[in-house]
Point group: D2
Chain length 301, copies 4
């Protein structure tokens, strides 16, 4: 349990609101400021709101920046505020004892923090953050499938490409629905896990034999693995859900020409389960703070 | 495998379209007519369309009426047609050798068939039809939950009232998501199954102790079990999904007064998975025809 | 919570020892006597031992007789004692206010209790007792399979006959091991549940097509369904585990002639998990007592 | 599919018998010799037996040595033969074109092969071999637990130390039985997987809080993590099953002093499921041969 502290939760979307609420619900005596988050409703009454960085940041022990840290214009991402703030303005007011956390930090921003001597941690780089975010991602993917398909997941033929974090959680969920789940991967070790976990392993080089029977295709690989040749093997009834970040794994132009229905689902955790995503972020932040203090990973049971 | 026959699939919604398609996909030489189903698209080209009951019905061995059989005005339910047809007109043209099947047949209609000497079977009364329809119902319920909740089903506290067909399938699905699943029921036997299946049993008389912690409440009991007193114990964050047919299980007026979010989800199979619902209906119809011929239940593997 | 009482736990095997211990662990002020259970060790020190029926029974509110109530000679079953006691001697000393519970009570014994005006309940007839006992039975069946087979349950082809309580729990366990599970049953409703639960339904009339591929065959039906004709379709590698009570479901003579390995596993709960079996019995007894007092089924969570 | 070849399966235990049988069942025209395996029965008739290394080895394309390669005396491990053979004698007769595979090869033996210019692959070092062997290991561990415990796995409190391959497969199995499963690990990533997979994560530094409630403790970590201090926190009813290879994870002396029941279960796959273990080995060998030919991992579906 970290000692009582002052936290500034600055910018970002609904996840940051829920993160601030979860911080507040700990009731450990910490003081919490929500900054540039005034537009969206359900903020706990115990949280103080402010946009005055010159007042709040100098007294903050931990500053929680958003994911992503910056918007398209290079300013701190503040979609839930009418005001804008530059990273420089924030840096100028941070206490020398402060610790900063953020998600998806570009190299220039890392340099800026380093120059100021403020330790900055990118929680997106933490493995446990990625693992736990696979849960809302997989749930969001299932929701999309349920909404679009005229048939049940029960008995549907599903193919997942990739057996990383998302592939693994998603395969288990689909299997629980009674779907027939195949997983395409390359490594012998991934394919062995697919088999040990009760699904049908398909080596990527043999995916062509699988595609004509698939009802539902999930891609989790961030490289265009589903090109026109492969897409042309699919039936028109097949729905493609791409869960991979840029550039995605599907040749969307080709899919359109072939009349295939595709959904490119990006950043699902913040969209489908911002409350859970906020809590997962908070857990990662506490792990960061604990490790700084030399104590060990505290998984919330 | 039944001998080759002439089928008329008459009226109804998307489920009947898919039922006709599934019949056609069997390729057993049967002739299939789709009647009063002209509005919606994906009918197989091998199926003949007609609205001429005087031509088609006399030559039909099996006539598949819809679920429900009749609409509000007492005519055969034909939502996918611009034309209307009375049950009397149909009966007048049925062959004396025909077999009729339908869903939710009112007593007067049963009498009318009996008077004509035409055997009529209500597939809604068949247990295997109800069991298999619990699958699309539970999937639809999960979709509603995923769409409305700002948090994951993983780790959510779910309470299901009733442990019949839907309760049992739904509990398993929610458990697979990592939800904490409690089930409220009355009988010692139901409660023992809840426990043996790995969920938390709650006797209905003690449901009050459970309600303040619930994130997601599914009702499957067709009687108003969730009255104002019980609803008042729920948190505002709790979503209520009522899966029970008329009159439902929730005092919706009281829920509104209390600011609780409710969804009354009726007839989910036809809405969320008409293709699967059509196939389930077809399987039940073949079981009916098999039993008439004295042979045994053929479960499609 | 029943009021504080005097219990006599009389005769029976290890299950009764564990039942007495579980009673004692409730620490609700009840007084517990263990009678004719002196041979086996792990009896809690808070339990008083006695064989003096004339002293103990008149003051006992609840007398817990064993399962089965009587041994081959018609005396109360007391395998853990060197002494013998007749049912008549017990009845002669029971208080007129006492309640008696027992398992597998023969009709004559029922009559004897009725004549004395002592209410007697056979917990073996309670549905929740049978459901929860399916858990140790299925675990015992899995243990036998694991011990005898030179291959893993993972990927093994298993066939279960019957989809009652034991069939259902066992199918789920085998499925979790990654076995391929088929279930043979007769009713359309049972076969629909098999399918909905994710296993392969086989109508009993078509079991012949299945048998040549089976690695592991579990029978749960108490009638000789596996006769020589069916057994002759099995491979020599196939292990048969019969879980049905007398007369069992296998023609054991024929199986021997055919060189098939069979295990007839009777009364598994008391053998493989006497502690759990004792607790399940105790729960059923409390349900009986609660119902007598007009209160409702209390499922232990 | 590899081209037709001559295989010598030389030495080892039942696994090698089953491996040879599985090779033979492929019916791809390969010739198979079983060497020093004459003692145990179920060898397919299509396999030729011989102990004449000077005849067989020169014509063998692939020589399958056992796991472990050598016995205590430094000879090739041949427990199913009355004859002994040195590795040198084998090496002297190997064809220069041969490929050798073996398990647990000591460094000197590796050097000997290298000196002879014969490529040698240790399948024990292959990840997919280790993953798939976790299945029989976990099944064996469950069998031991079922055999020793007087209560059901259902509802038992289980603790697993380590969340590698065995920990992960075992946790899933125990969870399917309805056990309450906690897993102790050190890394944030392992603990996040434990949580995502639905079990209770326990940081190793906090294991003390867990131990007093555990019914069943599985160790998978090959270092003495369960020392006297930790063992002294366990109840006497707790069964300890150590699945870790030498030196094991339990201070067995201390456990004995404390009256705790321990089972050190080594090399379970070969003991509980030699047929499956043989097939897993064969799959790994084919992956080795495929990779040599430049083709990709072929996971048997």
């Amino acid at each position: 349990m970290p000692p009582k502290k002052t936290f500034a939760v600055l910018g970002g979307d609904l996840r940051q609101i829920h993160l601030a609420n979860a911080l507040s619900a700990r009731e450990d005596g910490s003081v919490i400021y929500a900054m540039f988050l005034e537009k969206n409703g359900p903020l706990s009454k115990k949280i103080k709101q402010s946009t005055q960085v010159e007042m709040i940041l100098p007294q903050s022990d931990v500053v929680v920046f958003p994911l992503p840290l910056l918007d398209n214009q290079g300013l701190v991402s503040t979609p839930l505020s009418d005001e804008k703030i530059s990273l420089e303005s924030c840096l100028a007011h941070l206490s020398p004892q402060a610790v900063a956390v953020a998600g998806k930090v570009p190299p220039e921003a890392k340099t800026a923090f380093r120059t100021m001597g403020i330790p900055l941690y990118d929680y997106l780089e933490r493995e446990e953050f990625a693992i736990l975010n696979a849960l809302p991602t997989a749930e969001g993917a299932v929701e999309i499938a349920l909404r679009h398909l005229p048939f049940t997941l029960f008995d549907a033929s599903c193919l997942i490409t990739g057996y990383g974090r998302i592939g693994r959680v998603l395969a288990r969920l689909l299997g629980a629905f009674g779907a027939k789940v195949s997983v395409a991967a390359r490594g012998c070790d991934d394919l062995a896990w697919v088999r040990a976990d009760g699904f049908t392993p398909v080596h990527f080089s043999q995916i062509g034999g699988c595609l004509p029977h698939v009802d539902l295709l999930f891609n989790t690989i961030p490289a265009v693995v589903l090109d026109e040749e492969k897409l042309s093997l699919l039936r028109r009834r097949c729905l493609i859900i791409d869960l991979a970040s840029m550039p995605g794994g599907v040749d969307f132009e080709a899919a359109k020409r072939l009349g295939l229905q595709t959904v490119w689902a990006l950043s699902l955790p913040g969209k489908v389960a911002p409350e859970s995503a906020g809590k997962i972020t908070l857990d990662a932040i506490f792990n960061i703070l604990d490790e700084r203090r030399g104590s060990q990973c505290q998984m919330q049971p």
